[in-house]
Subunit: 214 residues, 2 copies
């Protein structure tokens, strides 16, 4: 019974996601759905990306949070349009909430619309938001075994960002193990090894992302 | 409609959780539900705890994982009873799955039954498993803002374990900010500041936990 209910919810979500995607395509807006565990560094990644691409790419952000607008506050200085969706305890964003906030953006004047999903490596993966693709963000501090343990997001992601590489010397994280684990799940996904706080490794990400703009 | 469905699911879960709790009480078994983000260190905490309390407290573990038995493999050397529940993509354990595996344990010869929940700081909080209490595990690498951003688990937890304190010098984590944030959510919860990999700060946790055994 729960399975049937879940199917209905996902079907309705899929229909609305297709509508959202159509609207975005009509306006040539690339929507990128960022998914990670809490604290993997999605907001810091957005801070770096907004700073680096400002003036070259017109960006906007939808901030998904269980509660608070803390992440949006951190991004406010970049003077880009930001809309916060508080899920009030909910564990993921869905396409209906995206559809509702889309009119807040001037889509004709946007190139990329980032969605920072709720911090959760599992549930957000099941919900198409109408994005062009999902990006998985994972921190070295979470350990090198995450692709095998949480395969869904690593299977779906169009790119994987491994953040906090500066912490590797202080942990038991093995880059070899991580790469092998990821290769078993998704052998061809681009992997960007970065430190958002130390600002290293990000140029390849900017280049890849900019190449996806319509 | 989704809210009503969720209420039904939670009601059914609650009824079964009450049954589980009754069985555990009849056998004087303390069930502890460990909840954290992926990679915060629940398994390493269990490894340390099993090693430290072996011979003093009779322990068992239910390992909840989306897929794989990797965590159980890590605990196998401690020669304690372990049962793995693979949720096959599911984002949390529920009381029905706990109830099904309970007969695998010799409850008369157990003092503590740990449940290592699926790595997820949101969904597991909503599901009573029949545990005596929940413990939140959070890593310094996730940032000092997690209690405010994910308040549910920090509000419900009987204890909070802040792991990976050895990484603080290499991050922008502020202990003051973390403590203030936590105090706003749950001012009286015991906080254990530990490093499971470096084996520091854990004695207070062992003492507190042992004091809860029936």
């Amino acid at each position: 019974m729960e399975i049937k209910i879940m199917k209905n919810i996902l079907d309705r979500n899929q229909n609305k996601a297709n509508e959202v995607r159509k609207t975005l395509h009509e306006n040539s807006v690339l929507m990128v759905n960022l998914i990670s565990s809490p604290g993997a560094g999605k907001t810091t990644l957005l801070e770096r990306t907004c700073a680096a691409l400002s003036g070259k790419v017109r960006m906007g952000v939808i901030e998904g949070d269980v509660t608070t607008d803390r992440d949006a506050q951190r991004l406010a200085m970049y003077e880009i349009p930001i809309v916060v969706i508080n899920t009030e305890g909910g564990c993921h964003l869905d396409s209906h909430s995206i559809s509702k906030v889309l009119p807040e953006f001037d889509l004709q004047n946007l190139d990329i619309l980032f969605v920072e999903n709720v911090g959760n490596l599992i549930c957000p993966t099941a919900f198409d938001l109408g994005e062009e693709f999902k990006v998985a963000v994972v921190s070295t501090a979470e350990g090198d075994d995450k692709p095998g343990k949480y395969p869904m997001i690593f299977r779906d992601a169009r790119a994987v960002i491994l953040n906090k590489t500066d912490l590797i010397p202080y942990t038991n994280f093995s880059m070899k193990n991580f790469r092998n684990d990821l290769a078993k799940i998704n052998s061809r996904v681009p992997l960007f090894e970065v430190s958002c706080t130390k600002n290293t490794g990000l140029d390849a990400w900017y280049k890849w992302l900019t190449g996806k703009v319509f």
